[in-house]
Each structure stands twice: as structure tokens, then as C-alpha cells.
Amino acid sequence: MKTNSRLEKILEKGEFAVTSECGPPRGADPDVIRKKGELLKGVVDAVNVTDNQTSVVRMSSWASCLILKDMGFDPIVQMVCRDRNRIAIQSDILGAAALGINNILCLSGDHQKFGDHPSAKNVFDMDSIQLIWTVKKMRDEGLFISGEEIKGRPNLFIGAAANPFADPFDIRALRLAKKVAAGVEFIQTQCIYNLERFEKWMEMVKDMGLHEKVHILAGVTPFKSIGMAKYMKNFVPGMDVPDALIDRLKGVPKEKRANEGIKIAIETIQRLKEIKGIHGVHIMAIEWEEKVPEIVEAAGLLPRPEV
């Protein structure tokens, strides 16, 4: 055990972990986070807070994480490389650790052209792999990137994202291997709809022995509507939504489609539980956090274990 992270404890015990996500508000009102937190109580082992996702300005991830921590959660601070240079990154890592945040998810970050401030200067002083390396160096060696000593090491459980559905497909497992070599300890994947393709990716991952070196949490997002499914299929890069799923939603009357989306999510989780090497599920119910308890329960994942 390297950190005080509840997520790490659950995974080291061999339990199937459940994590979810809170999107922070486009304003300074902490109650927005508190309300979302209330919906997830007792249902997750750790909760992510996104970091200006899709380059849209929102309350900062670490600040939102602090609010959730005060409610008793084990938050995962997400950190992108788009907006900060190495000075700010190391500084924020120390800050997050000082506030008692135990987990960090290291990401490159969506390009700013997707967001509400496309004329911003982007940073990308480092990439996600160098960020993983940085956190590990700070935690395990007690050194800054410059090689100087840190007095008071940040004890963070190190995570990153993996996208089995982006191109080029044949190097996606290699990229995960690179992240493992850099020191990543848990992975949350992009949301999974195409289980066949996901299983192929897991085969490649297992061939490289990576499933034993890193805890993989499979991402799941329930469809709220056909519009959402189509949008994700056509406009979100690195997403694979099979037509069969859209047809399945079409085959159901409009009022029942949200429920069908939940059913699909539950079935997906049940299949994922069977795959060797999957150590948990990461449920991203974007602006639909109230459905998470229902999904976790129906997937047979309640109550969450004591650690």
C-alpha cells in the first residue's frame, strides 16, 4: 500500500471497484457539487472530478475534490496537461496532496478548440505519460523534475486513461504499456459500447502481461436518448458506438428509451465483470448522476466493501 487511497485498498484486496464522476459547475456555487455527491453516497469507492473537460471552463477539479472529501468521499483529482506548465503541475500535485486528496488521474487534455475559449494559448509543456512519470518521481523518489528534494512527498495513487477505441488500434496496448512503464497504477477506460472490440483490446493487453501490472477499470456510460447515442457516435473522437445499440434504442418507445439505456449499461457491466483483468468499473453518467445508485445496485455491486 503506497497511499491512503480507499480505491487502492479496494483494488489491493482484490475487490471489484466502483468509481464514478462528478462534473463541476460553470460557477462558484459549491452546492452543485454537494448535491451530486449526495446522489453517490455509499455507492462508489472513489469519485473523479473532471478538469475543464472538453476545454470548457468549470470550477477547478481540486477545489471540487475538496468539497467531496469533506462529505466523506475519496476523490480522484483529474489533471490535464493542456492548461498548466510543469511548475504549476508540480505545485498543484503538492497542493492536492496537502488537502488530503489521495488519487490523481493524469491526462493530456482535450484541445482548447473544443471548448468555450478556443483562442486561449495552450500549454502542453508535458504529455500524460511524462505527467505519470512526474507524479511517481515526486512520490517515490521525493524529487521534483529538476532533481531537487521535496520536503513532504505527495502520496497520490496514480491513474491514467486508456482508450481502446482510438486509432491506431494496434498500438493501443503498447501505449498502455508505456504508461505502465512510466508508473501508472490504475486505468479508467473510455466508455465501452463495442464489447467485441474491447475484448480484442484486452487480449492484446493480457498478451503483454499488463493486466497484472495495472488495475483496469472499465468505463460505462448509460444512454439517455437516441440523440445522445448518435452524438457520441458521430461527434466524439475516439468513441465506438455500434449501430446495433442505436437500433435497440429505436426499437423501444420514446418514454422507455432512457430505461433501455440503463439496461444496456447494466448488461455491459455484468459482461465486464466476467473479463479477466478487469478490476472495476468507472461509471460516467454525465449530468445523470442520480441513476448511478440504480445501476450499481442492479449490477450486483452493492453494498460497497468495508476497508
Partner: protein
Amino acid sequence: MIIAERKPIEEIIDMIKDYKKIILAGCKGCVAVCAAGGEKEVGILASALRMAFQKDGKEIEIKEVTLERQCDPEYLEQIRGIVDDYEAILSIACGAGIQFMAEKYTKTPVYPGVNTKFIGVTEAQGVWSERCQSCGNCILHLTGGICPITRCSKSLLNGPCGGSTNGKCEVDPSIECAWQLIIDRLKELGTFEKVYMNIIPLKDWSTSRDGGPRRIEREDLKL
């Protein structure tokens, strides 16, 4: 070479609208190759500007001049004899040339008639694209001759990111994913297995523009 593009005519007209006599200075270097500021473009811009003024009943005298380059002091000297006869210089050289022109003729306002865009190459007639960000520390030997700083939208040194789709960048489908290109090239060179798994460490950006405006002095070449 340096690729530039003529500014919108409306913007140029706004800059010089109060003048009656200007020099329009082109350059036979980079901007001539990318058809933004060469002799031909000087002629076209001068004609368009004269017509723009004429239709409003205003007169403007435009002296058309195309220098060899505007980034060398000797070539800028060529207009010393006439510069005092004109109120302003509209230069369509690259940003470096325009500035050098202004540095040499400090009493004459110098206006930029182009937007200088990037260091790039001619992919085909009429098509230019960016290749180099002049980061000051070239790593092309590590990436099969393709620059990730320039051609990856996020300048990732250990790419690709999760947004690469069908060899295209998530930012714009016309942008090729640099890391797809690098991977394909390394495979073609037979060095993929050896090279790709190495983690490229953090870049020292101090050799780039981030370290401040740059300068090179060669003692062996100074007179």
C-alpha cells in the same frame, strides 16, 4: 521557408487610408514562393489599392518595389534614395523583413500587409503546410523524420492521444495525426519496435521561444 498570407484588403486599406504617397515593398524570398509578397503580388495589391482609392475619388501614389530580401541590411539599403519621398511603407515581406524595414527607416511608418503564418513547405502548387516550430532542439532523429512538436496539435512527445481517429487529428479532420504518421514511418524504417517503447522525456523548452527572443553570434564569421 516562411509562409505568409496577404492580410484582408479591407484591413490594409484601413491602415493606409490617410496616406497619399506610399512605397509598396515586396520580397523575392519566401513570400514570393508562397505567392504572398513577390513581385507579382506587389503588382496585384498595388492595382487593387489604387482602384479602392480611386472609386472614392481619392488619389494614392504607390511606388512598387520588390527587394531581393528584406531580412538583410544590404538589400534594404536599395530604397534609401527614395524613402524620404514617401509617407509610409507597406511591406508584404514576412514579419522579420517588415520589422527590419522599420528598424532601418525609423522615421517612416512601416505597415504589415501580410500575416506571417509558419515555417513550412510547398505540398503542391498553391498548398503550403507547417512543418517546423523552431523549437531550437531538433528531435527528428527520434521520430522518423516527423516533428511531433509541430504536427501534433498537442505537441505530445509520447503520442498518440485518445482522439486520433482514422489517422486524423480530433482537432480537425484535415489535420493528419502526427503520431499515426510517426508510427507508420517507424514501421517503414523497421525501427518501430526499437524506438516506440522508449519514453521521450520532458522537453527543455528554454531553447524555444519560451526562453526569450533568440540570437546566434558566430565569431568566426563576424567581420
